[in-house]
Symmetry: C2
Subunit: 327 residues, 2 copies
DNA sequence: CTGAAAGCGCTTACAG
DNA sequence: CTGAAAGCGCTTACAG
């Protein structure tokens, strides 16, 4: 392995000036610069990041803490983070927390020992003080830790209004809203949006809390549909719940979208594969991840961050679980 | 930050014996051991992994190279790898390669500079020589690089036989096999299994090559179904293709499973959410990942590896796209 | 069984 | 503008 020493020797300068040149820190004469460049080239020298880390107490590792990569929402997020990380020369460490504060803390601690550059955190049960005191750059998704930590999230409320209106415009008269877990910020924002849209309509509706879980959602919807067969529209706070609703509906003999229209939220790939295809309020998950990564890297590199709160617009995707609009 | 020096001072020994004790390398008297233990405890000392890496040229980072975490097959694999990595004190770096050899090489190079402990590689277009010469422990999924590199994969051929037989047992008389891309080992093994099972049946069949992509599969199946309306069974080499087939079938007015039965391959979560639920040959992806990680760590820690080839059994999951067995 | 010392490959005041 | 030297926090022959 060729080291900075080899380069210095070949270039006829000291390791200090090689280092200065490589890091663009401090003055280096044009002459020296040229000699170093040539030596680096010739020796195919590449800086040892571990040795550098030991000195600078910084690495180019980014920690991505999320509940579970297995949840269909996260792969795309991870992909986006990794793509932009790669662009900027960072490497991403994957951390599944299972929403367990102990696991989160554990990751934070072990990665800080490795001089991790920063964290992107997606979690519902964030141990706020632990993050607030982590003393390392952080960007949070879907949750505010404190005013100093930038947050990126979807325009959940707006999205819920769009989703609700899609159902209203298509003639639904009795809407079931599948509300997500109450400890989730995004779920609550969606709830607010739904309430705002539905209440200005004077139509019948009901709200049922429902985890973002397929089988549970199916079961809950099956029950509610039995209790109230006049329900003709379902707005689910997540695509997984919507898929459960769709299954319950078809098992209950309801025709979708003729008897019952369904709108989901998330825009997961699976929605397209259902029959009929799921109409949904799609989040731009990739964009969220990309923004989070960029903002984090700016923080790491001490560049100015223009804002602390990033809201990514949401988009209504019309597929087969809704009818064409009534004129 | 407390260092090994602090511990040495407090324990009244040299840093060398502290290091020896901590690494269980070389003799340390009971007395010294006790003093060091106490000092470590009292100072809450934790070894700096970066400094260690610089010396040993080893880290506890594991690189997970996969085509795209966004492909529904991989999140569970990643999860498994991370779970066992965590257990053994390793951290996993996520690398999306897009099947691009340049990206793979790039990752290998940059991570080797960080003294990565080893790689788990899932890829179709592996640049074999590059891996073979990587000079770092590797475990491959679904592909053999060379005899020295352990491989783990599903029992693909067996699985394909099971899947085909499931269709045969349920009265299919004209089966369409959706063969996966020809450059994929697993896809070819599945093809072999299908051929073996179907040829011993003397029934009608056809094979169509079809990428593991939803929309493409849907389109292909729609076309084939039109050409030959007597097809009454489809065996797809992947669940995504099966989902495409299901959609094409329902759009073509076929009743599933009455007119047409469908079996997929993979066991992805989405299969359950379809209507009807997808009958499929499920891989134990979590187990594959867990085995890969364990075998890799054994290699890293220079423990004996009992075998070089691990085949994980596959399981038939019967759901709604197949009928009950005819007696 | 133990410690002094060199070394891993870099960075960074500091003096010139 | 540049180099000698100390230092980042550990590990590891080597001598005793």
């Amino acid at each position: 392995m060729t080291t900075i020493k080899d380069v210095a020797k070949k270039a006829g300068v000291s390791v200090a000036t090689v280092s200065r040149f490589l890091n663009d820190s401090g003055y280096v004469s044009a002459e020296a610069a040229k000699a170093v460049t040539a030596a680096v080239e010739e020796l195919k020298y590449e800086l040892n990041p571990v040795a550098r880390s030991l000195n600078t107490k910084k690495s180019n590792l980014i920690g991505l803490i999320l509940p579970d990569i297995t949840n269909p929402f996260f792969p795309e997020l991870a992909r986006a983070v990794e793509d932009v990380a790669l662009t900027y020369g960072y490497t991403v460490v994957l951390c599944n927390s299972d929403e367990n504060p102990e696991k989160e803390k554990n990751y934070i601690e072990t990665l800080k020992k490795k001089y991790i550059a920063g964290f992107i955190v997606t979690s519902n049960q964030l141990d706020a003080p632990h993050y607030a005191n982590a003393n390392v750059p952080i960007v949070a998704l879907d949750r505010t830790i404190n005013e100093k930590i930038p947050t990126v999230s979807s325009n959940n409320k707006e999205g819920a209004i769009m989703g609700t209106n899609a159902l209203l415009k298509r003639g639904c008269r009795n809407i079931l809203f599948l509300r997500g877990p109450e400890e989730l910020n995004p779920a609550n924002d969606r709830y607010e949006g739904f309430m705002e849209a539905i209440q200005s309509s004077n139509l019948q509706y009901q709200v049922v809390t429902c985890p973002f879980h397929f089988a549970d959602s199916q079961e809950i919807v099956a029950r509610v549909l039995k209790e109230d067969p006049t329900i003709d529209g379902i707005f689910a706070s997540s695509d997984v719940s919507a898929a459960g609703a769709l299954k319950a509906a078809s098992l209950a003999g309801k025709r979708v979208p003729e008897d019952l229209q369904i709108v989901g939220f998330d825009g997961v790939a699976m929605g397209e594969m259902l029959s009929p295809g799921l109409t949904t309020v799609a989040q731009d998950v990739y964009k969220m991840g990309a923004i989070a990564a960029r903002v984090l890297i700016k923080q790491i590199e001490n560049k100015k961050i223009d804002q602390r709160f990033y809201e990514v617009p949401v988009k209504l995707i019309i597929r087969g679980t809704t009818r064409s609009v009534e004129e």
